[in-house]
């Protein structure tokens, strides 16, 4: 293949896996797309980039940033070049995530009931009980179909040798799925006919699978149960996602103030009186869900919700208390869980992780801080991280002090060289680091993973942080049919 202007200066890092380029040529799965893009002039591609921005803006796929009292609409940056996953790669990912999710769900059932895994010494009791997301309220409470994690967004990364690693398990209220759906719609508009030519598998079935699972959880035996999506409200940065999912599933979008609990049943306030609610897909964190049980200052939740839940009068999705399983300190034990519960070898690897609560490991990490990423065990969104390879001496010293105050709250991982993928930047293709979040749905019929996901991309050159709160963007994610 000729290298055109578009591909000139596509310099991949020597020790980084590039999704498109294998040091000598363009990988097979990217060839059609690269050919397709090369037929456009730089001016046309710039126009397409502009068009993508306009489409996001006009559809209101935005979040509001408040500064000096006025709301400003922002879009999550979108890169126009899709990320491509081959059929064999996807098969592997699918098997790995299914296995992991099964084990994590069994772990939740176990720690909130008999706790075999603790008694057998596989997971230390201290780690479970010291997790702030461990909820005593869940103990001994049988959730419908033993499913705790109805929706999981497990993050994957690819290291320099091309193998996939699990970065973290998001089992509480994983977000971003609307971007999986909308990014695909935008690609259809930007590059007509490109998708069918490449045999890309569709992702549009996601809302209907989720809806089917929600219906099946209804505690009332009724043909038409009332399902609601509970949102913190229009000022939440993910509000667009909440409305999109509610609209695509045809369920009611409610705020905490729309619900009321009476005699351990949940009702919504309608223009024709109270209507009983059967299933709540909540996008409000545990902590704010019920002011009678958790944070009593919360206005986002519903007083009495937990009692209705524990009585079995309403189903809550995802279950409360899941945070104990995606705690970054528990993460280390997931491979052991897989062996313990499933008697299988883990398909997807963990990133090696050091528990800073453990003295020996802490000393090792302190010695090698510049090659480590240190994270808080209960933060997400890329907040409170220390990237050892870029941190200054004094930042490291300060962080050490923080760690020593409460070592249980920290873990460290060697810096993983996230793989790179081509992004369209200033008229050129340039490699930027990416990760992958596929969305797994767990219903009474088993686990289904929609072929696709959210590819997050670190838009700054050389950056390894893909979180949207830290200057990350996203890409349409293609899974090719065999």
């Amino acid at each position: 293949m000729e290298t055109s202007e578009l591909l000139s200066n596509y310099n991949t890092d020597f020790n980084t896996w590039d999704e498109m380029f294998d040091q000598t040529s363009v990988r097979t799965q990217y060839r059609d797309v690269v050919d397709f893009l090369q037929q456009f002039s730089i001016a046309t591609l710039n126009k397409k980039e502009e068009q993508a921005k306009r489409l996001f803006m006009s559809q209101g796929i935005t979040f509001t940033v408040y500064s000096s009292g006025e709301g400003i609409e922002k879009i999550f940056p979108f890169d126009i070049i899709p990320r491509i996953i081959t059929a064999p790669e996807w098969k592997f990912i699918e098997a790995g995530i299914t296995q992991r999710l099964k084990a994590l769900n069994l772990f939740l059932k176990d720690v909130y009931n008999e706790q075999f895994i603790i008694k057998d010494g596989v997971v230390p009791a201290e780690l479970v009980y010291s997790s702030p997301h461990f909820l005593r309220e869940m103990h001994g409470f049988p959730v419908p179909y033993d499913i705790y994690v109805h929706i999981a967004g497990i993050d994957l990364i690819r290291d320099s040798d091309g193998s996939m690693y699990i970065l973290e398990d998001n089992l509480r209220t994983p977000s971003g799925v609307s971007y999986m759906l909308e990014n695909r719609e935008i690609t259809k508009r930007l590059f007509p006919d490109l998708l069918p030519k490449n045999n890309v598998r569709t992702v549009t079935q996601y809302p209907s699978i989720l809806h089917k699972n929600l219906v099946s959880l209804s505690p009332r035996q009724t043909a038409n149960p009332t399902i609601v999506l509970l949102t913190p409200g229009i000022y939440n940065s993910a509000y667009f996602e909440h409305t999109t999912l509610a609209r695509l599933m045809g369920v009611e979008l409610v705020e905490g103030r729309d619900l009321v609990v009476d005699n351990h049943r949940v009702f919504m306030k309608t223009t024709t009186g109270l209507q009983q609610v059967d299933v709540i897909y909540r996008r409000v964190d545990d902590e704010f869900l019920d002011p009678l049980v958790f944070n009593q200052n919360s206005l986002l939740g519903v007083a009495g919700l937990m009692s209705a839940y524990r009585k079995g009068n309403v189903a809550i999705v995802n279950a409360t208390g899941n945070g104990v399983a995606d705690d970054k300190a528990i993460y280390t034990f997931v491979p052991a869980m897989i062996r313990y519960y499933l008697n299988e070898e883990p398909i997807l690897k963990n990133v090696p992780t050091y528990q800073l609560g453990n003295l020996e490991e802490r000393e090792y990490v302190f010695k090698n801080m510049n090659t480590m990423v240190i994270k808080r065990t209960n933060e997400s969104g890329g907040y409170g991280m220390l990237m050892g390879h870029t941190a200054t001496e004094s930042e490291m010293e300060k962080y050490k002090e923080e760690i020593i105050k409460d070592p249980r709250q920290f873990i460290a991982q060697p810096t993983i060289n996230l793989s790179s993928a081509p992004c369209y930047m200033n008229g050129k293709m340039q490699p930027r680091r990416i990760d992958l979040r596929p969305y797994a749905l767990f219903g009474p019929d088993g686990i289904q993973i929609v072929p696709g996901g959210l590819t997050r991309v670190a838009l700054r050159e050389g950056s390894l942080v893909v979180n949207s709160s830290q200057g990350g963007g996203s890409k349409d994610t293609w899974v090719l049919a065999g």
């Binding site: 803006m57 006009s58 209101g60 229009i234 409305t243 609209r247 103030r257 729309d258 306030k269 309608t270």
Partner: protein, 311 residues
């Protein structure tokens, strides 16, 4: 439908209608100001459509372009088109899963247009009629999209109730601006020109020409804008549509709580139905219009208390 969502749709619709009324009123007054032989005073507009104190009104009264900018884009003016569209969009967002995607995009697009940072400068430097027409067209798109895409049912009923309640108030307000102007001027010819702009901005000029012979007369304009049931911006028409959509809300469960509002609307409808232009003018048009606006506001408050209040 959730009470909160019903409330949001009602207000989204009211804010859209109000911004439409304000834009039309501005267009008419601007056109009129270009004909006036004296300095055109914007004071009645400011008195009726903003919350400015007397002193501030007097200051702005003869600065047409600044008035346009204040009423259309000013962040500090709670009733500016900018703020109304922002509120309409917030309400649309809050009921987003109950309006069609098309309608949401329509409100969202209007929001991005009204936020264009070049707009205040254009209002100062360009032809205001072109700018106001473009904005009015955004509102028309909203009406058309609502009509063609919104399913008939509670959601559209609440939107229509909001729309016609607000339209009645706006038409009364627009007419009232004129009444205040008459008191300030004795120019006979200018009067006819003003009525013409009023009718043009309400899209009622052709209807007037077809109905009446012999020029523009206050009596006939009052008859058309207040009493003509065939004129879609008349007060009588707005009230009768309001009544029709309100009746659709009724069912066995809520009949009791709605009967009081039904009474209020019925009372207002009869007041208008049994009025004549002569009687209105004789009794004082300004007082008559203010009484109507007052009664409309009472209906709005009652909607809040009886229909939207959560529980």
């Amino acid at each position: 439908m959730l009470s909160r969502v019903a409330d949001s749709l009602f207000w989204m619709s009211r804010y859209m209608e109000r911004s439409d009324g304000i834009l039309r009123m501005l267009k008419m007054n601007y056109a009129s100001s270009q004909d006036d032989i004296h300095d055109f005073s914007w004071k009645p507009v400011l008195k009726i459509f903003t919350y400015l104190e007397d002193e501030a009104c007097n200051k702005l009264a003869f600065q047409g372009r600044n008035v346009l900018q204040y009423v259309v884009t000013d962040r500090e003016n709670p009733n500016s088109v900018f703020n109304l569209i922002t509120l309409a969009r917030e309400n649309a967002r809050s009921g987003q899963d109950h309006i069609t995607k098309e309608l949401w995009q329509c409100v969202n697009d209007f929001y991005h247009i009204i936020r264009d940072e070049r707009l205040p400068r254009w209002l100062q430097e360009e032809d205001p009629v072109t700018i106001l027409d473009d904005l009015i067209k955004q509102g028309m798109l909203f009406y058309g999209t609502a009509d063609i895409t919104m399913p008939r049912g509670e959601g559209s009923w609440f939107m229509n109730i909001g729309k016609y309640l607000e339209r009645g108030i706006q038409s009364a307000g627009i007419l009232d601006v004129k009444v205040s102007t008459i008191k300030n001027s004795n120019e006979k010819g200018a009067d006819a020109a003003y009525w013409r702009y009023l009718l043009l901005s309400l899209a009622g000029y052709e209807l007037y020409l077809k109905t009446y012979r012999g020029g523009l007369e206050a009596r006939n304009v009052v008859e058309q804008v207040v009493l003509n049931n065939q004129f879609p911006r008349s007060i009588a028409y707005s009230i009768s549509r309001l009544h029709i959509y309100f009746k659709r809300l009724k069912n066995e469960k809520n009949a009791h709580s709605l009967s009081q509002i039904d009474f209020l609307i019925g009372k207002l409808a009869s007041k208008v139905q049994y009025s004549t232009p002569e009687a209105i003018i004789q009794q004082d048009l300004h007082l008559y219009l203010n009484d109507i606006i007052g009664q409309m506001n009472v209906i709005g408050t009652a909607m809040d208390e009886k229909v939207f209040s959560y529980l």
